[in-house]
């Protein structure tokens, strides 16, 4: 292995695939590619070789903004004290099947 081998790291892309019948695209993994067209081709070869896939998205990994684990309690507080957000909070005359 020659140590002149210090190749540029090829950009990283996140891959999202939509399976036939499924409702939304789902994160499948990541691949490396020099541009978007190759990224799509590589994503197809790696993640859509077998399954019945309807659509693929590739997104440059650096373009994704993510929440941080330490933010999570504040961001994702289920607000269970806000009972007015649930249908059970509201009363009608009849305890009908709409309850």
């Amino acid at each position: 292995m020659p140590d002149t081998d210090r190749e540029k790291e090829t950009p990283l892309w996140e891959v999202f695939v939509q399976e036939a019948g499924a409702e939304a695209h789902q994160h499948a993994g990541s691949i490396h590619a020099t541009d978007a067209e190759l990224a799509l081709q590589n994503a197809r070869d790696v993640f859509a070789r077998r399954e019945t896939i309807k659509s693929i998205w590739v997104v440059p990994s650096h373009a994704i903004t993510s929440s941080q684990p330490e933010d999570e309690p504040a961001l994702f507080d289920a607000a269970s004290d806000k009972i007015y957000r649930h249908p059970q909070f509201y009363k009608t005359e009849k305890a009908s099947d709409n309850d």
Partner: protein
């Protein structure tokens, strides 16, 4: 009080690291999944990088012994199956490299360690494939062992690794079945075909049993990996599952197991094997297996010969980006 103050800060910091580790381990015990951005002990990260890199490299190097038979597969049916299987293994390598990158190591760095010999891959791929029957044995036994291991890993504590394993498990059954079909046909064939299958089985049986790693009391990583929820079963437990499953299978094929000490233990309900020839395993790990040099050379050559493709793709992307910027 300066000294005391200093001492106290250090202790608080040390305790908080200890407390964090404690909290982490209780999350593991509660079967929670750990995700890339979450805090993890450095040892957990190191163990995952080591184990996942080895696993990915095994998928990649594992293409070589089987690729050896693509041009000589005995029929078109066998050839398309083998090509598809070898392509799947490349995909498996990519799934796992992608998962290991979530731990903050670059793919180039991980791959460089395979090429410079500092990272390991499964010892099993350092054995040659000298007959067509070997392709059957690899699918049945080697992929069979991989399935047992990967089914466990699909429930491991690290999210990206577990998800990569789920993807892989979906594809492995075809690998095992196509191998078993080859073995089954040979065993029901001519005397020469049966002999070919037996000769091949004799060579693969013991090395595949070694794939599960050293016995529990000798394995230096197992205890820690189990504490971290990366492994959920010990090497010996997995090996025993493989033995019980395949002794019966070998008998159905009409193959003789190359182990004079093998017997069924009524009390435990398990097949008991004779001593595993671990000296051979250590030799292969040290680099003295039949094909270690050949495998690594093939990967280095492929990397060198593919260099112009990577360079051309980069140059093309740059040129196109410039042209687009002008428009």
């Amino acid at each position: 009080m300066v000294e005391g103050h200093f001492g106290r800060t250090t202790r608080i910091r040390a305790m908080s690291e200890e407390q964090r580790t404690k909290d982490f381990l209780s999350r593991i015990d509660a079967k929670e999944t750990i995700e890339p951005k979450e805090w993890m002990p450095e040892r957990y990260r190191e163990q995952l990088v080591r184990m996942m890199s080895q696993h990915a490299h095994s998928e990649i190097v594992g293409m070589l012994p089987e690729g050896n038979w693509i041009t000589r597969a005995p029929s078109l049916r066998r050839k398309i199956a083998l090509i598809a299987k070898v392509q799947d293994e490349a995909g498996h390598g990519h799934y796992i490299y992608s998962a290991v990158e979530t731990l903050g190591v670059s793919r180039e760095e991980v791959y460089r360690k395979l090429l410079d010999g500092s990272a390991k891959y499964s010892h099993i791929f350092n054995y040659p494939t000298t007959s067509w029957a070997d392709i059957g044995m690899i699918g049945w036994l080697v992929d069979g062992a991989a399935i047992i291991n990967q089914t466990m890993l699909a429930r491991c504590s690290y999210g990206p690794y577990a998800r990569a394993m789920l993807r892989i498990c979906k594809e492995e059954n075809f690998h095992k079945k196509q191998g078993m079909e080859i073995v089954s046909r040979l065993c029901r064939g001519t005397a020469a075909q049966k002999a070919m299958a037996q000769e091949s089985f004799d060579r693969w049986w013991w090395p595949t049993l070694m794939m599960f790693g050293l016995p529990d009391e000798k394995s230096k990583n197992t205890a820690e990996l189990m504490q971290f929820g990366i492994k959920l079963r010990s090497n010996d437990e997995l090996r025993q599952r493989f033995i019980d499953m395949n002794v019966k299978q070998a008998q159905e094929f009409g193959l003789t197991i190359p182990d004079p000490d093998l017997y069924f233990d009524e009390d435990s309900g398990h097949w008991q094997i004779g001593p595993i020839p671990w000296e051979e395993f250590f030799e292969v790990l040290k680099g003295n297996g039949p094909c270690n040099r050949e495998r690594l050379d093939a990967k280095i050559r492929a990397h060198e010969e593919g260099r112009w493709v990577r360079e051309a793709a980069s140059a093309f992307a740059e040129k196109r980006a410039k042209r687009r910027a002008k428009q």
